[in-house]
Subunit: 204 residues, 2 copies
DNA sequence: GCAAAAGTGTTATTGGTACACCCATGC
DNA sequence: GCATGGGTGTACCAATAACACTTTTGC
């Protein structure tokens, strides 16, 4: 019996997270063509000949945020045959993480807890990505959102935003320091109208 | 500029684990055709028209182990354009878990720590699957390898085999019971030439 | 001196780890 | 009675959780 299969277009879709203004935000573009013209969609694109999914994503990220290296990771592959109304397209979902200071135009970044009405199945992809990010959180992930040096309270804020919980400030600081994730530097915050924070950095 | 993409064949490959004779084993088939004729390979197959990857895998598992429902989960999608020498084939890697009592012929199941020289990139897929299984271990996963009712020492053995560690028997038992994962039954092992074990089962 | 955010210690509880012997059964 | 694997308790240490006030700065 002959297999009844067809070839498929292969795409990557990236849920690119950043932390800005106390919110976890993601990059969305507005579609200029049908289907779903005018609706927002995730950045992504088709795999070219001789590219792995990771290479496609690296190429796309260069187009979007410049030649910077950014952290990314597969989290799920979406295979519903009807997910693209034009032609069957399998999409490999990635999360990517970027520090907001490396973003020029923040106007296309949206609070990921207030997303609706996206093109294709992109709302589903965003929901799975949020869930994945939260479940996988660790210091390597949070590090992507932090500057080289940062006050401990900013680090706490990052954890709280991603996990949507609140931590006790004293316990949080003690844990970060005694577990050896961070170490303090000699630098202090400047020109703030309150007690200046000490800067910390991640240990290697 | 026109995109330089091509469509791709889409496949699933399943690393189906079971525990048997104190070892974590996986199912491998011998290839009857080139490429890689005579080498062992993972069970899997191409996505048919109108099938999701999960539906393809459900269909394949029926062919392999009968009409039983078994637990499975995506863990990584392999996109190297050269991974199949015939034609580009993207493969969605799944782990699947089955109790060895549901397997008729155990002769095609091999110790997953003693695997070499598989077809395609299947060794890589197996290695990633093992790593994933170990990192994701929890009671739902271990449950798939256990009978409805089981002695606690068998449960401990399952954890030890998957994680490749040893646990203290007293601490392990206390933890399983006090954390509410299992509850004891009234049943005892029969016809063993040592003290009979009490059977436990998973709480819901 | 007031507003704003940074920074700091102690206590109680919980969870984890280490450790060695007796028990029930079949033969 | 011996071989086999099943089953049990305690003490210590580490990690976590709860909790409120003082410090430093700019204006």
């Amino acid at each position: 019996m002959k297999d009844n299969y067809e070839k498929s277009r292969m795409a990557v879709d990236a849920v690119i997270f950043t932390i800005h203004e106390g919110k976890l935000k993601i990059l969305l573009h507005e579609r200029e063509k049908d289907p779903f013209k005018g609706k927002k969609e995730l950045p992504g694109g088709l795999l070219q000949i001789n590219e792995t999914a990771e290479q496609t994503l690296t190429r796309k990220i260069k187009e979007i945020v410049g030649a910077q290296e950014i952290f990314f990771q597969q989290f799920y592959t979406f295979t519903d045959p009807k997910r693209d109304p034009r032609d069957r397209t399998v999409s490999i979902g990635f999360i990517a993480l970027i520090n907001s200071s490396r973003i020029n135009d923040l106007s296309k970044w949206f609070d990921c807890n207030n997303i609706k009405d996206l093109a294709f199945d992109h709302k589903l992809i965003v929901d799975k990505a949020k869930e994945y990010l939260k479940s996988e959180i660790n210091s390597i992930i949070v590090k992507q959102f932090m500057s080289e040096q940062f006050p401990l309270n900013k680090l706490q804020e990052a954890y709280e935003i991603i996990e949507n919980v609140e931590y006790d400030n004293r316990n949080f600081r003690r844990q970060m320091i005694t577990s050896g994730i961070v170490k303090e530097t000699k630098k202090l915050e400047k020109s703030v109208s309150h007690r200046p924070a000490k800067f910390y950095k991640f240990k290697k």
